[in-house]
Symmetry: D2
Subunit: 359 residues, 4 copies
């Protein structure tokens, strides 16, 4: 029922920006936490991006995000003929706009090396210029000393990993051993890497998903099939920078990309329950019952593998509802389903039990 809100409705400069409009995303919640919608990977003209930094804030505001990071490359600055290299510039420029829009702007940068180690984002840093030095381990150590959350980016990117399969090299294992790696991108821009779920679970790392946008968010992700940018849900105690950081180091994250959600089962199960609700049967003909199943979130739910006497598939639209007709026996026993678009591991999806409510 909601019309599309485009950046064009923001007056881009000056005080009128305050009349811009922001979408409210209806997303699942973890009991006791607030779900922060975050994108920790984006670029501007200060490396190889195509926009001025304030655009990133206005896009985030309009799209309903809570926190972003601008992560221009340290080692790749193709605009330097026209724009002198300043690794902190994007952050400084965007900060005022972020403050005016109540966006949490995480200072960050992308450490950009050949594989291994590949590309890594240092998030929550205080000075990116000081991370411009040749030795990789020294850079990470410096970032960590600034309090950084280190995120390994697109580990299966075919430009760096021709078989597309993410794998730990010794340097990554060394980072993990030192406690210097905190998350891995399961999703980047338009691709995801299933194995990252297992790599993160085995090593207690946060699962991350980002846009890695270089151009225009509404053009890259504005198609009817792909209506929102990829993002990381962070389950924080409050909507503050500190709570965000605490939650990320604690690994309380999930990734929303396209119509899918990736999360460890301990988060996936309560997230599903927070938005999917079964009603009391409204019809009973002695053989079958009819009841409503509703989904209050912006994420459609695809339930498959239904049991005998129940629908094989249940496709719950975003902010929508379906009627389930099932055998009367399901008044007293639950119906098991797979939620095929909630990914819990490289080879597993969320398993749920559906049962009609009792008056």
């Amino acid at each position: 029922m909601k019309n599309k809100i485009l950046l064009g409705t923001l007056m881009l400069l000056g005080t009128m920006a305050l009349s811009g409009q922001r979408a409210i995303l209806n997303v699942p919640e973890l009991p006791g936490y607030v779900t922060l919608k975050c994108d920790f990977h984006s670029h501007t003209v200060f490396s190889d991006g195509l926009v001025w930094p304030t655009i990133r804030i206005e896009e985030a505001w309009r799209d309903g995000l809570d926190a972003i990071s601008i992560t221009d490359h340290i080692e790749y600055t193709p605009r330097k003929l026209y724009i002198p290299v300043d690794h902190n510039a994007a952050w400084k420029i965007a900060k005022t706009t972020a403050d005016n829009f109540n966006i949490i702007l995480v200072q960050g940068t992308e450490i950009t090396r050949k594989m291994p180690p590949g590309h890594l984002n240092a998030l929550f840093i205080t000075d990116a210029d000081s991370l411009n030095r040749p030795d990789f381990m020294e850079v990470i150590e410096a970032a960590v000393s600034q309090g950084a959350f280190i995120q390994w980016n697109h580990p299966g990117w075919k430009n760096q990993e021709p078989d597309g399969i993410p794998k730990f090299y010794p340097v990554h294992l060394e980072l993990i051993a030192k406690g210097w790696l905190h998350g891995i991108e399961y999703f980047n821009e338009h691709e995801h890497y299933p194995l990252v779920m297992d790599m993160c679970r085995d090593n207690k790392l946060a699962v991350i998903g980002n846009s890695d946008v270089h151009g225009i968010i509404s053009e890259e992700f504005g198609t009817p099939e792909d209506v929102h940018r990829p993002m990381t849900f962070v389950f924080a105690k409050e909507r503050t920078m500190e709570s965000l950081k605490e939650a990320m180091f604690a690994g309380r994250t999930a990734v929303w990309y396209g119509n899918s959600l990736a999360a460890f089962e301990e988060y996936a199960a309560p997230l599903f329950r927070s938005v999917v609700t079964a009603g009391v049967p409204f019809k009973d003909d002695g053989k079958a019952i009819w009841f409503e199943l509703s989904n209050s979130s912006d994420i459609p739910m695809e339930l498959t593998g239904g049991p005998e006497g129940a629908p094989a598939e249940l496709r719950l639209p975003a902010s929508g509802m379906i009627v389930v007709k099932a055998d009367r026996k399901y008044l007293s026993e639950p119906m098991p389903y797979n939620v095929s678009n909630i990914i819990t591991g490289s080879n597993s999806v969320l398993r749920v039990e559906i049962k009609p409510a009792v008056k």
Copy 2:
């Protein structure tokens, strides 16, 4: 964030219909009541409509409505060369589908006379055929004896009232005197009649808005500018036929049409408060404060006439949020605004006070 759900995604016949998808409308609530979304005026091939009755149920289900009435004309049956006249047929045909979709189907018919009295719907009747008799007052008496809610339709329709201004004729005053008129259409199809607000308030009648659809709902109301059908909100104690009826006779209604809402002030004020929320100021530069104002409903809110030191206009999108920047004095005093799209009378709109939340 929600994709459009079209009837095409319903399998129209047979048990597969149960896998159809229903939109959830996010609408304001009155404390202690549930808002039923209703359309009490529609047609089928059994008078001058263009569709089979089951279509009306499937449209209502898909669009998130709770209750509808099919109100084919008693006195106008242009298909009779091919379809024998049966004023109860549409109801009988649609009832099974309604039961399978949990839609409250109110039996109704349209008594179709020249002005005065014009057209009136009898709702909650039990037999439409018995209302097919020449004397108008006899018809109404018969309907009332079935327990009918009598609704006067499109009183300013130019085909019957050339100046477009609704007015009571003696016959209407007689109906009111006898307690035989219970509501008037403020909105019909694509037009509204401002004076109806006053006519209803003065006579304790319910304000009603309906589609009066003859063709296809998604084609008449599926444009980007007009994304939902006009409908009546009924504030009922429960989602049942009985509660619906009780609320309508009690006049607890509002009308949602385009981006506007029409309701008596006693309902309009709490409805507004149920969906619009101000946040705690997140920025304070010593002169001005910045705070978020959000709207959780599918109805945009247009606030105008703001006071000095505050924005003159605040345009709150559906399911969206804006930032308000205002003088610091508004930490301690409220900002008065007109809600120019919430109509409370022929010449008045809702007046509200906005103030930022306190931590």
Copy 3:
């Protein structure tokens, strides 16, 4: 650039219908012929459809079609409890509307039997009621004696042909031997049957594609992925009933469904050439040339399997253009491609040669 035209912009009844708006479809042409856009399979309330017959004309007009047929079932009339059976009624009702909208209304009906023979449409008939008799061969003979074009419908429909593979039964071979079968549906509603291309070519039958719509065209085919109804292109000498009929018996047809076109190679090759044009190279760096390739039709073109030194794939949007960068050698030799969305047989697609224009 074109906005969507919905039926809602038509005033459905009376003379105002004449202010309705019709889309112009930009489709390929066969030199010397006009491409008529046709749908020869649809239903109304006079069998198991859900709309009044005039809706079919208004949908066709709005959507840019030239000719349709309403083909209600002879043997299946589930509305008969309310609507007396009259197999000519839909045609009679729709004819006036068709004449007012300049739509060629082909009288038709669907002969509805178990497989074999399954369902067949008789088109260009003069009396459907006379085809209501038990013996199948007698019915066909009667239809043929009215001048009918006999079309076999959805031959791989799983309700009748569980393996989904269309095949001739003796009864079909008998029809062919007698010259009483003239076309087969390659496409029906949402599915297509690849083998039909070969069955038609081997037996000199017309390839047909239809909507078989029972509900609402704009809802069944109005999604972003499926923007037009399936239809048959008939390459006629003129836009008249007689020319249409001549062309169909001559087998000059193609089928447009989704983003694909099915046509025998003798038609497919000139159709492609009528809308795809290469420009003169606008850049030449000594190694490569750059030139524009444009598509003036509403059908995207997907070229695959490009040769060395040229793009592997060329995706030409509807009413759009791309730039091709290729080795300079292609100034003097053509680039072979497969047009993977122009189907010429059960196992073949159109093969074309692309070469830049010469000044």
Copy 4:
């Protein structure tokens, strides 16, 4: 029928950009000329814009434009703290991309002064840096000596002209007297100035319309109501820089904005005739005739003020058709209409005569 093509379908960098998709705009033509679609006013990060210069080329390519100019401000460079001032930089950066996309990139700049004289674009220049000098007349003289076309921008912009009414100041009259003013913006971004039509006609200047985009084209002009950016049609002998320049100095231009076209009558009349076509009457009931009226362009046509016995209004959709029902007398005499969306002067619209074709 055409899907929206967004920049996201372009790979923004490197050779893959060549697989991007370009819309073909269907616009009216002047006999003997080609209509070049142009935007002569846009900004980048090199003044107060928000994007890197190559974005402007990719937007233009995608949107079907033929020529653009990037016209960053000479006197206003708010990014200079981070980007050293170089008035030729945007042109140099964009030129290679323009050459790869066959876009005519006109070198330009915006001379940015208080009113009078206000803002003027110098187009077809060879060096913008040399125009950075204090004396306004010297700047214009220098630009003219480079061969510049001088365009006065948004003459009724309320920031500079509080009453919104464009008017010549002595400085403008001096420019005209010297032959140093060649065109005026009738349309800029979201507003138009009716008087400019007369000011241009009286002084033999070209009528111009531009986006003046600072942000993202698809976001500023991508709404359902405003589907294309404002642009200038230039009627050139060929699609070359030289022909473009010749046509502009000759004043052969028109402006397309929203659903309106502004052009002097000498161009407006043949433009209309090049796209609107009446058919032969297909029905004649002795009193009235029915005939088709079609519009092959992307510009809807709104005909009003129809004569007695003909429709008062005819609304021809983009790439669409309507049926006209009119009195039989119009077989022999034309029907006069106003084309209310083709503006020919500050107070006049195009007047046309519609008559059905003869077989």
